[in-house]
Structures are given as C-alpha cells and as structure tokens.
C-alpha cells in the first residue's frame, strides 16, 4: 500500500470521471504528490498525477534472462561436464533438447520476479485488520488525497474539493 501522508485532506467522489477531473485540477493548482484511491484501475490518471512508469517490467525481463541462462547452465554442466553420458546417440550438448527447460526456467524466474516485485513496489504485507480510509474505496467510491503541510494548504485543498463538488471531505492529522 502507498502510505497516507502525515496530514492531508481527502475528497470523496462517486464517479471516476469526477476523480480524474479533480486530480487534474489539484495538479494544476500546484498540489504535488497527490494520491487517488479507486476500486479499479483508472487509465489516464497516472499521467494526470504524474506517476512514474513502473519499474517492474525491467525486473521481470532481467529475471527472464537470468532464469534462462541458469537453466542452460544447469543442463550443460550436468550433461557435458559433470556426468557426460551418451543417451540415444545424441550429442552431449544436445541443445534442441535443452530448449524446453531453458524456456521454462526463464518463464518461472521471470514470473516469480514479477510477483515478488509487486509486493515490494506496492509494499504488500499480510495485515488482518488494516486501518482503511473508507470501506467503500474497494467497492464503489473514489478518493483524492491532497497532502497538506500547512494550514493554508489545508484550507486551499478544502476549498478546491468543495468547488469540485466532492461528496465528502475529510481532514486527516496523524
């Protein structure tokens, strides 16, 4: 999960379009590091909130290459170096027969990297009773979180959310 800032103003919306619009307005008004919450991914909002592209694909690609190389190394070392034995008249380095396992090792390694990277990137940890902002944020509600470092920020953010006809506005101090 992405952490909530120490103090912030949260505006709730019932419609994804409203949320994207509000996010754009907040960015234009100069609020930085805004976050949004939604029950499903909304496309285009990352650009509005200037969220960087995920690094996970590069990690997965690296995993793929490493896994494939290890897969080949295992087979080559076993059959050519450690235990050279003639099976069915095939050459020791029978590459066509190795391709399948190279592929499977690559895919397995890449998929696991991909999966674990998600846990790191989204900071996923098992938590039986997390302190959720609102129970309907995973159902049918949308929220825009505007960090407010000062009181002026806070009132400006509240003003903005009011103007954007937010369904509900909450202030959070931790």
């Amino acid at each position: 999960m992405a952490r909530l800032p120490k103090s912030c103003v949260i505006g709730f919306f019932n419609d994804p379009d409203q949320l994207v619009h509000a996010a754009g307005e907040a960015t234009n008004e100069g609020f930085r590091n805004c976050d949004a919450y939604s029950p499903y991914p909304i496309h285009g909002i990352e650009e509005v909130l200037r969220i960087r592209r995920s690094w996970i694909p590069s990690a997965a690609l690296t995993g793929l290459l490493i896994g494939a190389c290890l897969g080949f190394a295992l087979q080559y070392w076993t059959h050519v170096i450690d235990w050279p034995i003639n099976v069915g008249g095939k050459p020791l380095n029978a590459w066509p027969a190795y391709v399948v396992i190279v592929f499977e090792c690559g895919v397995l390694c890449s998929a696991l990297t991909n999966f674990l990277s998600m846990f790191v990137a989204c900071r996923l940890v098992p938590h039986p009773f997390p302190d959720v902002i609102d129970e309907d944020l995973t159902n049918d509600r949308f929220a825009l979180v505007i960090p407010a470092r000062s009181d002026e920020d806070e009132s400006a953010a509240t003003q903005l959310l009011k103007r954007l006809k937010a369904d509900e506005i909450r202030k959070v101090e931790q």
Partner: protein, 532 residues
C-alpha cells in the same frame, strides 16, 4: 475529398465522447439504450451499479450454503474418498492392479493426465491471451476459469506421480545433488514435463492470486464477521487501491499475460513431445504441438461451459456471466473443433502420403482395424469414432446461433466435448501402443475398475475444489468487471495509446491540461498539426 459522416449506430453511448456534454459534434444519440460500440448487446447491462456487482458476487460468501450445494459437495468428496482408497490399494499392491502391461504401458492414467492438463488451458487462455487481444468479455469468466485451471493442473499432477509406481520416490525427478551421484536426464521429454507442469502450476497460482488481491480487499472491507474480515485481510495483503499501487499492479498483470501466453502454448506442446519424440507410429508426428494446444483449448472451453452454466444459475450471476459470454466460449469451441479436425485429417492424409507402411497401418487400425486376440477379433475403432463424433461432428451444431445461445444444448454439447477429448487422448496413446511395429506384439488394452476408480477420484477432487472455491472466493473478478462497467474504454493490455476522456463542461480544456492528460499519440498529433 468528401467528408464522411459515419452513420451513428449508438456509438456515442459508450464512446468517450459521451462525457463531454456537447463539446463534440455528436449526433444527439447519446444517453439512450445500452449498446456496445459495435451495436451488439453489452457484456453487463448498464443498469447495474458497481455496488450491485460487489454485492451480487460476494453474496455466496456471506451466507450459509444451501442444501443443494452440500449434496453436490458431499458427492464430490465421496468420489474423491473412493479415489484415495484405490490409490492406497495401488500403493500396497502395485501397478499390476491396473490394465497396463506390454505393449500398452501408458493407459488410462496418462490419458487422464493429459486430459486434465488440457482442461487447464482454457483458464490461461482466457486470463492471458484474451487479455493481450483486448477481449473485454474475459473479465466475466476469467476468475472461475483460472480456478478451473489450477484445480485441473492439480488433478493432472497426481497421475504421473501415481504412474511412476513408487510414488514415494517421485522426488527423484527433481535435479538436486544427491548421494546416489546421479543426475536426471534433461534430454528426456518426461523431465521436460516435470519442468513445464510445475512451472505452469506455479505461474497459474501466482497469476491467479495477483488477480485476487484487490478482490480480497473488497471482501475484507465488506465482511461483517470478524474472523472473515481477518482472514481476507491477511489474504488482501493490506491492499488499499491507491493509484500508485494500481499503476504497478497493471504492469504486473500485463507482464503475467505476456509470460503466460507462451507458457500455456509450451505446456501442452511439451506434453505432446512426450509422444512425438518417440518413433511409435501414430505418436511420432510433427503436427502434435499445435494440435495438442488447440485440443487443450477446445476441451478447456468445454469444461468452462460445463462449470459456468450451472454456476451462474446457482450463484445468481446471470447478469454478470451473460449469454454473450457463453456464446463467445461456444464460438471458441467451434473454432478449435475445426483446428482439431484439420489435424485429424492431416494425420490421415500424411499417413497415406508418406508411403510408410507402419504409419498407414496404424491409421487404418484406428478407423476400421481389428486385432486378433485370444478374445477373438477386437478393436478400439469405437473409441476413434467416439472422438470424431464428439470433437468434430457435434460441435458443428454451433454454426446455429440459436443453439449457441441455448443453455441446455450447450451444456450437453460441452459434456460431449469433454468425453470426446478424453477419447482423443485414449485414441492416440492406447491405440498406437496396441498396434506397433511387430504383429506379435499387438494386444488389446482393457482398463480395470481400479483405473476407472482413480479417474473418478480425480473428478471428485476437481469438483470438491471447485465447489469449495465458489463459496470462499469471489467467483468473478470484481475489480476487472467494474472497469468495463459503463466504461468500455478502460481495460486492455495496450495502455500507451489509451484514449483519455475527462474534460467536462465545468472544466473546459485548456492547453496545459490537455498536455497532461493527452497520450503520447495525441500530443504528437497536436504538435504535428501545428507545424504543418
């Protein structure tokens, strides 16, 4: 140059342009009807809200299952228990209680193995390949289909382990440094299978779990019962639905789709290699890899229909898993049936064309041949014709739209598809071994009751798991289906050129904002327009 105004076919309703309240030159057609942009029925009726979807999908999880479910679950468990008893007997007495012997060393167990692996393929096809093809209808059925995949692969995995005889030594299949100073033979296709099936099972599970995380969060937030809340809270991994997390999540999901697509093709290809690398006539044929994959998808969709038709009825999900979903599945069945038919015919054609006597003899035996045996003239031609009927002839009924959309008909046809695909494998494995190079070897294979008992047990395991799944997990991908609800422009693998639509009347587009919101393509368009 003439300016062409496209005729309006209610495209505006779901066109992003609808949200602009008159910024566009629309034809005044927006706001009515619930048609998708191509004029067909929508996947989910727009009258349902996100809250409806959540409530309807989660309903079975929050209430005590009805009697019917208990009966079905109990019956499945009974079959599973029976299977376990037979497995125990086999462990005690050995493989001799099965029908296999020389020359048919691979019988019902291997047929079951390939059958179950094949069933699994539809789930991955739906979750990965259709995702890459931006087929939004997958969202309604992918969760249940993926569950089916995982359970089917579990059932499949049992059979080779039982078939090795000394199941307690099955860990010898894994390459690890050991005091026997031996290595596994990586050149053997059976070992490729070990790698392919375990990789497939692992990737399917983590892919499935990835899809489940946001939905577990929904369950956590909706659950009233404290224990339920805690359990799903742990499973949801503290998921909150932050856009930053979604940004990673979507990349991860797309990445999984890119990995699972070649993986699913490889798994059944590798299974086919078990046979095709050998030299038994009827086994060694180069078309096996794509032919097995097509057959797997065919049988998998058959099983999808078998499961979904009752499931959507009993869980009251008819408005989410709609007739359109089922019809599309049936179209896939028809398509793959044709591909499988092509493969059957090409095998026969090449058997004739090859002038290879053993190859020819095998195919004559399959279709019309007889074996002389102590029991008299026997043949498995009926298995061949069962396969042809179920896999090639019966699915032809799906040319009729009426039959494609008839629940009873599709349920019955799906059962035939399952039977036909089981016999396809039986036909390939057993009939080829029965009738190999030397007439002196030829012999008829008869499975024993123990073979059938374990087969029944695997069905018991499969249905036990599936019935359990329908009560403890969201059977539909809630987050995904919400993304296509009312907003068909969301979703899909290709995000780079996504059309963004958010300006509304209250917020006229000004240049700075457009630059933020526009995709690369649009920005480029705008710039090129200015310079020219």
């Amino acid at each position: 140059m003439s300016l062409i105004e496209q005729e309006s076919r209610n495209t505006e309703v779901l066109d992003p342009g609808i949200h602009d309240h008159g910024v566009h030159d629309d034809d005044g057609h927006h706001g009515h009807g619930g048609m998708t942009p191509d004029g067909s029925e929508p996947l989910v009726d727009p009258k349902y809200s996100m809250r409806d979807i959540t409530d309807d999908v989660l309903a079975p999880m929050f209430k005590f299952p009805p009697l019917g479910w208990h009966l079905a679950f109990g019956a499945a468990q009974l079959c599973f228990a029976l299977g376990l008893v037979i497995v125990a007997i086999q462990m005690y007495r050995g493989l001799g209680i099965l029908g296999i012997n020389n020359p048919v060393g691979w019988g019902v167990y291997i047929t079951d193995f390939v059958f179950w692996v094949g069933i699994g393929h539809a789930g991955t096809l739906i979750s990965a390949i259709l995702f890459l093809f931006r087929q939004k209808w997958r969202t309604g059925i992918n969760r249940a289909a993926e569950a089916m995949t995982i359970f089917a692969v579990q059932c499949a995995g049992i059979f080779p382990l039982l078939h090795v005889g000394r199941t307690w030594k099955a860990y010898w299949l894994i390459p690890y440094p050991n005091d026997r100073l031996l290595w596994v033979n990586f050149r053997s296709p059976l070992l490729w299978d070990v790698f392919a099936v375990t990789t497939y099972a692992t990737v399917s599970v983590i892919f499935w779990y990835t899809g489940l995380i946001p939905d577990f969060a929904t369950v956590r937030d909706k659950a009233k019962n404290k224990i339920q809340k805690g359990v799903y809270g742990v499973l949801a991994m503290n998921w909150r639905g932050s856009i930053r997390d979604w940004a990673h999540y979507e990349r991860v999901y797309a990445q999984f789709a890119w990995l699972a697509t070649p993986l699913v093709l490889s798994v059944h290809s590798v299974v086919s290699f078990d046979f095709a690398v050998s030299m038994i006539p009827g086994w060694h044929t180069t078309i096996f890899p794509p032919y097995f994959v097509a057959g797997a998808i065919f049988s998998g969709f058959g099983m999808v229909i078998t499961l979904l038709v009752p499931m959507r009825k009993f869980l009251r999900l008819e408005h989410i898993i709609t007739m359109n979903h089922l019809e599309l599945c049936n179209k896939v069945i028809l398509l793959t049936s044709m591909i499988v038919g092509y493969a059957y015919l090409s095998e026969f054609f090449v058997a004739w064309y090859s002038e290879a006597p053993y190859e020819k003899a095998q195919f004559i035996y399959r279709a019309i041949g007889m074996l002389d045996s102590p029991q008299g003239g026997v043949a498995h031609a009926w298995a061949f014709w069962t396969m042809m009927t179920c896999n090639v002839f019966i699915p032809q009924l799906y040319w009729s739209k009426r039959l494609r959309r008839n629940l009873k008909v599709m349920f019955i046809i799906s059962i035939f598809v399952n039977i036909g695909m089981w016999f396809e494998r039986f036909n390939i494995f057993v009939l080829s071994l029965e009738h190999d190079f030397l007439p002196a070897n030829w012999s008829y294979y008869q499975p024993t009751l123990f073979d059938w008992g374990v087969t029944l047990g695997s069905f018991g395991l499969f249905f036990t798991l599936f019935f359990g799944f329908t009560r403890v997990m969201p059977t539909v991908a809630i987050a995904e289906i919400k993304s296509i609800l009312h907003r068909p422009n969301a979703g899909g693998a290709n995000r780079r050129f996504e059309v963004v639509s958010w300006p509304t009347e209250s917020a006229p587009v000004h240049p700075g904002q457009a630059a933020v919101a526009g995709t690369a393509a649009e920005k480029e368009d705008a710039e090129d327009g200015k310079t020219s």
